[in-house]
Symmetry: C2
Subunit: 411 residues, 2 copies
Amino acid sequence: MRQSQLFGKTRKDISQDEKSINAELLTKAGFIEKQMAGVYNYLPLGLRTYRKIENIIREEINAIGGQEMLMPVLQAKELWQITGRWQEMEPIMYQFTDHHGSAIGLGTTHEEVVVDIVKKHLNSYKDLPLYLYQIQTKFRDEKRAKSGLLRGREFGMKDLYSFHQDEKDLEEYYQRARRAYLKIFERLGLEAFSVEASGGAISRKISHEFMVQTEAGEDNTILCAACGWAQNKEIAKVKAGAKCPSCGKVLREAKTVEAGNIFNLGTEYSKKIGLRFIAKDGQQKDVVMGCYGIGLGRAMGTIVETSHDADGIIWTKTTTPYHVHLLNLSKNVKTGEQVYDKLTKAGWEVLYDDRDISFGKKLKDADLIGICYQLIISDRKEELELVSRRDHKKKLLNYDQVVKELERFYA
Amino acid sequence: MRQSQLFGKTRKDISQDEKSINAELLTKAGFIEKQMAGVYNYLPLGLRTYRKIENIIREEINAIGGQEMLMPVLQAKELWQITGRWQEMEPIMYQFTDHHGSAIGLGTTHEEVVVDIVKKHLNSYKDLPLYLYQIQTKFRDEKRAKSGLLRGREFGMKDLYSFHQDEKDLEEYYQRARRAYLKIFERLGLEAFSVEASGGAISRKISHEFMVQTEAGEDNTILCAACGWAQNKEIAKVKAGAKCPSCGKVLREAKTVEAGNIFNLGTEYSKKIGLRFIAKDGQQKDVVMGCYGIGLGRAMGTIVETSHDADGIIWTKTTTPYHVHLLNLSKNVKTGEQVYDKLTKAGWEVLYDDRDISFGKKLKDADLIGICYQLIISDRKEELELVSRRDHKKKLLNYDQVVKELERFYA
């Protein structure tokens, strides 16, 4: 992509009400544009990173048997009344009456909808287990929406729902999903750890949260640096400074972002909505369920919070919007065009800064945007200069060596 | 995919209030599931076809320079008041007040939002022309939502917006977009023709609709079978039975579905929202705009309306959820597994009916689902039977011949 044609300019000054680092950097770098509190537009650069996150999640959920579907935003009051959540969720749910007098809510989560659909298609134990997921837009009327992409009023989410014959089968899948989650965060370049937590409004049974340490986090986790023991502060019976119940070392408390969560729902929803199956012994039984969520925008915001410096964003290798940021600082436009052509034809994703602006401005923008590698063509040197965005280390290389370095890094 | 594991069963009886052929067949075949009037879930089979439609549209819009972004559903009243459409769109727009007292509408279209964003990133004529699009979910509180996927209250749409220095540049792009639209419909397997139409609430300037003939259509088009002349009945000054103003032959009237539309917006939105640019001569000028929409679910519904028979759906080659429906009617499970394995490894998309049900039921389901080819393994014949869903013509072939036939068809 030629940067002269890319929609979304970098800029120095943005709205004063963006208090979070992720929204500030992503807006300055031209990835997102705020619509209103907690509601963002993804500009072309931003959508590229967003889709990469989406695809990693999709791959890993497909790998644990997930079947993708797509459920709606508009949901009828009647369905949510069955579980008692129309009233319970009212403080954070957008609820209104349409022109026909029907009460409608915008989906905050999809347990009611998915159970209602599965009910129509599930008969016997032969149809179980079943793993359904979607990547879809959710809505929550958050009181505080000042954390940029970390806490949105409108946000993309992957939500997976699993259906089982019994608690044992669920438990096995729950652990598989937990491992898949750790793999997803690892691939995204996020150091996440799972902590036991309460289920909140979604479930009263066991649940786990996947936490990433960052000062931008709104959660507090009591954790042991020595053995990895961790619990959400809200349910932990020990405090920071106390001894770890597992290894005896001193516990500390960390600010964390909840990057994902998994819930054992038991038969709560199946019982209420009447989702039953005929077991092997001919008896009707309630389906046992789990649910598993990851916010896409939140993952993107968390990467920025945990990976940036004073100059801008530092993308991880799987989430960088392009593989290489090609900067032609030479007056000789031809060389730039040639390298751009060659790299692109070889399948590399290249953002080519072909703009007629100053040397310094190009370098500044490249650091702000945060593509993993900058490739600089200058008049002073014959060779290309490959710069790692993370540590600004430079290497003078010929074209083939550049490709080798990229292959090694993105392998 | 093994059909025994695929979520979404075929069924004979569905809700009596599904009056449209597309919703009836798609529901019976397990592609969609109604949530409420005009709101549908896409089950795994349905989402596959939906994504294929999405990708064809994306490819062709990228080919005419479109840059993909993603805009939000939630939109502030203030923005829509600037153009006067908060009030004008009220009859079909979901509008409500959030917990903080702010008035919010669910996006029916995105002119206001996109112009507001572009305003922040556009300075001079050097930034023009610009083509931005998204594939996103829209909402309209339709009075009649009885046409299945043809008229949804919640529906996926590709909306493209173009920005130009002057009317001449817009006109050129408008024609490019028109050709791209005809190509999209051709690739989808829809016979669409463009007709001149009024702009309705979106624009008072010129616009074109892309019509597909079907009894399910809610539009009426006056057309000339001889020369292709066509106009929307609402704006046509001639009636069916009159002489064609172009060639003199007798005009007729046809029921049509509007599968897409393109609008010349002129400077209407730029003027109201203040989207200006500095022209070459240093003067400030209003940006000239066009907008271009295609509904994804509507395209899917239209294909079903125009391509089905008494037994079920007949997908077109680009929208078939799988390339081959493999039916093992033999007791010898091994052969089925081998063919499934071989085809899948060769990159073919195969739905393999491995269910332990009767011969007749498998054939019936395959016809209902409508995958372009059925590949039957039976005990009676050594060779494989390749059946074209469209005309039920059968060929006895060996494996290599089957692959050749598929390659020829899907080329």
